[in-house]
């Protein structure tokens, strides 16, 4: 970036662009709101469950895998940040940096192998796993 130009001036087009997008979005939503028809019907106010009457609580318990995935994402995404830093500086870091990064990646892959082996990456339900045990890595 050019040092003399202040960051705010530099970003001006982006800000204008962002404003324009906001305007369009607002126009679309607002237009629909103003133009759209209104009607009331009893069935419309129920959650859609494939046409049958909804049952049970909305706050269902969901698979722990979603949760695991969130944690893996947080961890691995953070690790990739370090790789990003290495990628741009790969030439400056030289072979020493390459070895260090390889070690880092090696540990990451080892972790992945571990996670795969303990079944943390296996999304199948218990029944699916039982039906196809051969597939297990």
């Amino acid at each position: 970036m050019n040092a003399e130009v202040s960051p705010a001036a530099n970003l001006l087009p982006l800000i204008i662009y962002f404003g324009a997008i906001l305007l369009i979005t607002a126009a679309m939503l607002g237009g629909a709101y103003l133009l759209g028809q209104r009607h009331r019907a009893q069935a419309a106010d129920e959650p859609f469950e494939s046409g049958i009457v909804p049952t049970g609580d909305v706050h269902i318990r969901f698979s722990v895998h979603f949760f695991l995935m969130a944690i893996f994402f947080v961890i691995f995404d953070m690790e990739t940040v370090f790789l990003f830093a290495w990628s741009v500086a790969v030439k400056q870091a030289g072979w020493m940096g390459f070895f260090e990064a390889s070690m880092f990646i090696g540990i990451l892959i080892a972790t992945l192998i571990y996670l795969a082996a303990i079944g943390a990456l296996d999304w199948r339900t218990r029944r699916q796993r039982r039906d196809a045990p051969v597939n297990r890595p």
């Binding site: 997008i21 979005t25 237009g31 629909a32 759209g36 106010d45 909305v58 979603f66 741009v88 390889s102």
Partner: protein, 318 residues
Amino acid sequence: MNAELGQASDIVGILASVIFVAAMLIWVERRLLAIWQDRLGPNRVGPLGLMQVAADMIKMFFKEDWIPPFADKGVFVLAPTIVFITMLLGFAVIPFTPGIGIIDFNFGLLYFLALSSLSVYSVVLAGYASNNKYSLLGGLRAAAQTVSYEVFMGISIMGVVMQSGTFNLREIVEAQRGCWFVVPQFFGFIIFLIAVIAESRRAPLDLPEAEQELVAGFHTEYSGMKFGMFFVGEYVAIILSSAIIATLFFGGWLGPWLPPLVWFCLKTGIGVVFFILIRGALPRPRYDQLMAFGWKILLPAGLLNLVATGAVVLASSG
């Protein structure tokens, strides 16, 4: 800093054309799918059904702006706008031609990655705000899928960054004068392609909205213009992905004889068509297969690709 960039004409032109093309894609996709599946597709409104888009648009505007009474209203309205806005914002860094573009940003690639991860909020919030079991499950699935593939996406394009030594998209394009990165970075390209499809939740990786299981996933309760935003947002995402693929792997505006803008549009257009083709051609995998594939294959492959690229770059630079 390129003084030609960021003109008012650029801003208006880019915005208008992206939205127009995105809207037109509704028609294009239906026509193309129909052709590949040996049927007609929309052909009643206007010549070749070209006015279908306009008709849909008008219909949307006049549909009821319905917010379910059981929903979390503020979030419910906010959710679809997020995907729409972030995807449009992504175009700010796309280098259309040396002279066309909104901003020349040193960390353009990171900016793109950041925006594409922001779009996950849209599905999660939509799923949560709808207060509907299908929506919630769809939203969760979408979130898990998106965040997972985001990791691989980031890693897959780092090979490109290594070879060009920069995050600046314009410099990346310039670095491909000798050879398009799709050649040395073929693995990276494949991973990125898969990741991008998963990221934008397009068929065949549209598990979050798989209608057989989840009705329509996170947008089950959406209708009218808010549904339209999800819809259009998806097409904008396709265009954005194609543009990025063109930029990163196919040399962006570079090309002989024709003007840069044409080259760029051509490459992007091919990308878009390819996306539609994939949708028409491939079956949908099971969700656990999708996730396992990502974590067990794509991620290690991406990491290895990175190591190999690093070695090659270092070796060739002496």
